[in-house]
Symmetry: C2
Subunit: 321 residues, 2 copies
């Protein structure tokens, strides 16, 4: 749409619904989109497929593929279709698709290529690593939790903050991800579950270094709401501090925050899940080079999410030009 | 290849591997191919999907789609890929694909259309009926067997011949099948499991009438081997008699038989499954208008099957011209 953005390359780093929102935001612009996607997911259908078939986690890849797909609504819906009963209960068609192809070809990347062709995707979906690895978290209490799914659905006291996260075994960056990051004009990190979707990318050996080396503008998009067991009690400052802890200081050019509070009615529903609005009060960028951008990014509706096309896209595209 | 056959329309009626062979035989010729496929399958992955999701049987449709597919070997193999363990154990990817789409859209025909597009099929794959129905068999002893899978894998004395087969509830022909049959230049019935793949098409209300009404040349291709529990002790004469029992007398223009016996070594292996060579001795077409064609149709190899491209195709194409 905007001719100045023609052919500019944007890499979105994350996983889950946050990345879906950013990809949806940018897909109508004339930019070359790549999604670098976390491989830490171990819950639900994805977790069972990993356990039973030894495959890489398909769920986040599937979401990114659907976000970038330019095909019939039927086919896009099929990839997200979830069986609610029977042998296939809880499994998602797109996950089955990717796992069957990976089992058959022994190659996750070529499975993604086949799916990309069928879904006619505009852009690239790239697993951050091709190593089969597991996310671990240590809480401030010392307790160690194994597996993304167990961090996400905490069995321990979810008010105890996460002290650190890491991958075991160590994982190396997918060379395709390196190439995309180095060639990018803009890298967008987040939003998404901080410790289970966004940071796991930065834990992969070579990712932070590639981002640092890239001449791209580097942008962090902060979450709108906290997540119990993961970012409970976090303010905007804690989000950016965590990202910098794993990415390195002074690397981000921009951090984008939402300053519009959802309605009391909507917030009340989120309270049931102990999820709170991320406050930007007290935000200080001190001597950092990072420019903080505070804007109304809120979507109208029952869910607290970034408005992709009207609000988030405008901010990101303005930073790109 | 043969210019005279250009644009001629061939409809193959059957199901299972027999239909796969005929489609494979004819796909390299310049003919418009349609497969009218039995909907009686109730075993294995297909049976479980039918039971658990209330869908129409996808297995035979999948085989016909793959036979007509003009796409990468990867995608064709994917549709036939079978999970050997885990939640998806025994399920076939192509079956899952068709069933997910049918569940999602509520429409088996449109599921086939979507799969046809993805697999880039040359021709049409048409379920003989869109009614959800079940195959029954009554043995000569009076015993009634419910379900294709139970006839196929007999629990009763497999030497007792099948007296008759029928569908419950009654099924009506898919209008798309009527159109294909009426527009055909040639209709090829069989080969394939006689009572569980071929005849079930003729049990669908309107099929025999449409074939009779069609101006097409009507050809029956007889099986090479008998099947225990289904056609035990059958000679070629019994096959053609059974087809005529359900199709009607004097409708077939040609019946094609193989006269080349496999090697003793190969036959010995089939003996373990009580499967015998179909003898053409004593074959009489009496006052029938049907012309009997006896030829060497045997493929070279460990399996007794029709040689599709070199032998079967030549006979069928010669009848078409």
């Amino acid at each position: 749409m905007v001719s100045k953005t023609k052919n500019k390359k944007v890499v979105v780093v994350g996983g889950g619904t946050g990345t879906f929102v950013v990809l949806t935001a940018l897909r109508d612009y004339s930019v070359e989109l790549s999604a670098v996607v976390s491989m830490a997911d171990s819950g639900g259908s994805t977790g069972r497929l990993r356990d039973q078939y030894g495959v890489l986690p398909p769920g986040d890849i599937r979401r990114a593929l659907v976000a970038l797909s330019d095909t019939s609504q039927t086919l896009r819906s099929l990839f997200n279709y979830r069986f609610s009963s029977g042998d296939l209960r809880g499994h998602n068609f797109g996950n089955i698709f990717l796992s069957a192809l990976e089992k058959m070809t022994g190659n996750f990347s070529s499975a993604i290529k086949v799916a990309s062709k069928i879904l006619n995707i505009k852009g690239n979906v790239i697993p951050v690593t091709l190593n089969n690895t597991m996310l671990y978290a240590q809480l401030a209490s010392g307790v160690i939790i194994k597996g993304e799914a167990n961090i996400d659905i905490p069995k321990f006291d979810p008010t105890i903050p996460i002290k650190k996260v890491w991958l075991e075994p160590l994982a190396r960056i997918n060379p395709e991800a390196t190439r995309a990051i180095l060639a990018a004009d803009m890298i967008v990190i987040g939003p998404g579950d901080l410790f289970t979707s966004v940071v796991p990318n930065l834990l992969v050996g070579g990712v932070a270094a590639a981002i640092k080396r890239s001449k791209a503008k580097k942008v962090y998009v902060c979450n709108l709401m906290t997540k119990f067991g993961e970012t409970h009690g976090f303010k905007a400052q804690d989000f950016i501090d965590t990202i910098e802890k794993y990415l390195g200081r002074g690397i981000l050019d921009y951090a984008v925050f939402n300053n519009k509070k959802p309605s009391a009615l909507v917030l009340e529903r989120y309270l049931k899940e102990n999820s709170h609005f991320v406050e930007t009060s007290g935000l200080r960028n001190n001597a950092r080079k990072t420019k903080f951008i505070s804007a109304n990014l809120l979507d109208v509706g029952n869910f607290v999410r970034h408005n992709p096309k009207k609000k988030l896209a405008k901010v990101l595209i303005s930073l790109l030009n």
